[in-house]
Amino acid sequence: MQQITELTFLTQLAKRSKLPTPEYAVTPLDRKALKGLLDTWQKAVVKPDILAGKKGKAGLVKVVDDPARALQEINRLLNADFGGKIPRTVYLTRYIPAELEIYTAITYNSSFLGPSLTLSLKGGMDIETVEDTYKRTIPVDVYKGLDAYQASQILSDLQCPKKIVSAFSRCLVNFWDFFITSGMRMCEINPWRVTPAGEFYVCDFKAVPDESNFKAGNLAITFPEYPETITPFEEEMKELAASSYQGQLHISDLHGDLILPILFGGGASTIITETLCTCGGSPIFLSDFGGNPTYERMRQATAVCFKHHLKKAALLLILGGKANNTLIDVTFQAIGDALTHYVEEHGPVFLPVVIGRGGPRLAKGLMIMKEIMETLKLPYVIFGYDTPVTLVAEYAARLAKAFAPMRKP
């Protein structure tokens, strides 16, 4: 899932949102520019643009009030590694003095089966660590939306200072409007900083767009590339997946080095991948090609998998449970053709192939695969639907480990 960071929000979305944001500047900035900013702002917050986890950017940001310190912090953050995550860039926002910090999030809630607003006056903290007494979650009618009255009730309930209830209620309505008009799956502002003068600023922002919602698509957001967030393989598959909805084409890089898994079914792919990992099968990626993809889509997808990973794989695993509607002969013919094409283009390959499947047109599908394996002179073991996928995965992991030392460099 794509994530909208605060910087992406500031640069691309803030203007259309009616949400008050502090001024900002993105590095590189020289000492003179920094001095100019600090002369105006007095103080600035130096922040990394990073795909933050659950705890946001807590502990990563620093408040500075002179250019030398600012430069020092910028350099520190640019070269830092936060648990494997590397900042894409560093930016500064004007420091907002505050006497109150507020947490807000709008998301779709599985208990209400609709959107909900969560609010806490203990802003700036991981919301899960905030005691229930200090936070509220209320359902929002997806048709009617959040109104200022409803917002003011929740604020009063949390004993929010009366002087800000009215103005902040309007901010919350704007927050809802942004959420619903931009097709988001989740939006979190943590914190809002409330100045002594009663002004509100969005001082950190995180959102996840719903890729299935046309409104999110209409925003035409340019998602920046974060170091190591997406591999060229993932990028290529993502593009292919987006070209049609006929069948699943889901992959997620696991950076393994043994098994190239072509897996079918959301559930099956999860448990097979987990079994492979547990048994040391070191799957190169996680894949789900279920949902009865067309021949062309399946062939293109496997061709991309082979192009990126077949050379280094120690085993090709083609595995799924008992399909309900995926046509086995069509999908297997597509995989076989992609493999044949790969061999025609790149020369012979040699690695064991383990296949397991059940479902419509199984006999023809398995026979197609058997013939292709014979033609390509690849060693193979083929299972039917009566061998559990987890047992097949365990076997594949053992076979891959045994074959790995025999691989040609």
Partner: protein
Amino acid sequence: MKATQLADLLSKGDRVAVSNITGRESSMVTIVSHRYCGNIVGGWALGKGGQTIEYEPGKTIPVFATFDELLKSLPAKKHPNKVIVYSPPEAVYGEVKEVVSFGKKHIKTIFIITEHVAIEVTAKIASLAREAGIDVIGCNTLGMINTYDGVRVGAVGGDNPGESFKKGSAAIISNSGNMVTTMATYLMSAGIGTSFGLSTGKDALILTPLKDLLALADKDRHTRIIVLYIEPGGLYEKEAVDLLKRAKNAKPVIVYVAGKILETQNVSLGHAGAVVEGAFTTASAKMQLFDDYFGVEAFDPQKRYEHTPKLRQALLRGIRIQTLHTLPQAASLVYRVCEWERDFSPHETLQLNPWFVNLGELGKKLPAPLILTPGKIAEPYATQFASLAERKLGKMATQRSMRNASYASGNDGQAASIYGYAVADLMQRGNFAEALILQWLGELPQHAFEARLVEMCLIASLSNGPGTISAQAAKLSASAGNSPHTGMIAALASVGDVHGGNGREAIEYLLKVFGSTDLVDPYNPKASSVNLESLVLQEAEAFKTRKAIAQESGTGYIKIPCLGHPVFKDKDVNFDPREEAIYAYLQEQGLYNIFLDFYRRLAQTMKHIGATSKVLAVNVDAAIACIWLGICWKLLKDRRITLKRAIDIPLVAFALGRAAGAAGEFLDHHDHGTDMDMRVPAAECEILTKPRDLAPAGKKAGRSRV
């Protein structure tokens, strides 16, 4: 929820309407479902009103333009009470709105199969359905099956639901559609069948939460245990466990929780809702929730469980499994400890049962435990494989939509291509026959002489005189004042099984004769162990026997295709001069074609053993068939072309040549003939029916005049 038990969601007598019924997926599933349980009353698809879905020859399901029209058109007793939505994501909201607005009185449950529905739309559907008192399963459900009533909606159980779902005591509720069927199959090995199988879907919002489904399963009289497949994301399990804790005598639950990988790897899973978003939503948290409720550790297949009252108490609540294939063992433990009868005799234990193994040289280098031997293949697959394995020649093609797709040709906007070769490059080489072989077989000829032989076949097909049916057709067309291409079409339309099309039968015959041999190279008589003499004698004897039996009984018999010719038939030894020319060329060039040699020898032997009175001519259709089968043979052996294609090629080869010849005949007639000169004068036509009077309108027809 409106439903009070699982059967309210689906039972016998339910009438199901299908949205977007003409779609690729929905039409396929609808046909299987209707054959299985006959519960589909109709469907609708925008712009497709009036069409039908044929589920058996002559039996159809009606298609309407809208849901409203469906309600107005179907008789009241066929009004649907269930709807299954297969529409594309952007159309789902509109479809549900229409169902709610027109069908509120009738519809009890909506199953939404569609994937990638926006969460906002799902939330709106939840609100809409709640207000209308309609239960919604999905979005992204695979459907549901009620095994006792033998009914299903959606694709649960695939194309053969009976294979995985036998009546029994386990209700399966799963975040994954595939796992419903897979777990049902696993349970059968423990002698436990299924009461219901339901796929909840695993979008961010599941519109029928687990707690509600557990409450429904609790009230089902057939259900003893509930088997769950769970993924991360959502608070559904937290709410469900809270409910179980409050309930008295809740039914035992066996649960498998997948997706722990999300906690250690930066990956996303296949289902949109399988996302960790706070407390109780991770796989670990869900495992812990269930373990705490059950009061027993996750099932360990190695452990010897003592049958204590404490264990019984725990198992009456349920147990979690850590590996999916231990489901039958865990379920067996619950049944054993609870002293429940199994639903039927346990099937074979789940184990590695490979159907096909060929590790080749690698097998010699692997440790023994990794070298598997083929096990038993279940029926009906063993029979299906046996039948497929008999086929030694030809590719097994898969059928799919080829709209806007072609292997045979391409055009990228810059240049046209044939099977990947640029047409311009082929033009440079300047060999039409070579390009033709490529266009028809997908490969360039393997030998230069093949193109030459194809050219000879084309020339041979051009004409056999103006009296041939195809030439006559061209002349008739010219005489009627048609354009030249219409004359060619007329000639092609007159090519049939007994004129020009006999080559197909010749190929089928040759494939029957040579298909089971080890023939590798039809151009090299020494490259295989085919005993041609023996084959020829065998076929000649078989023909003689057929003919004798037929003569005795006065019935017809199967002739050897392409032996004999209506013109070249009067000598003791007959030849079709066109076949002779091809044979002579082969001789001159020192070339060989085993199929043509077979035909020639067969004609001789048939005379020799008295099966025929003369040596029949091997006609040009046979020669064309032999040449093209020679070209196709390696491709058939390598399974690169289908048998169907090889069989069709002699006909198209003849038709191509004859269409060109017919053009010549047309042009000739056009230049020199007169309009209508092909008309047969009335005086030359014999009247075979006696004249009859037609009675004036309103009166009875009179008798014919005698």
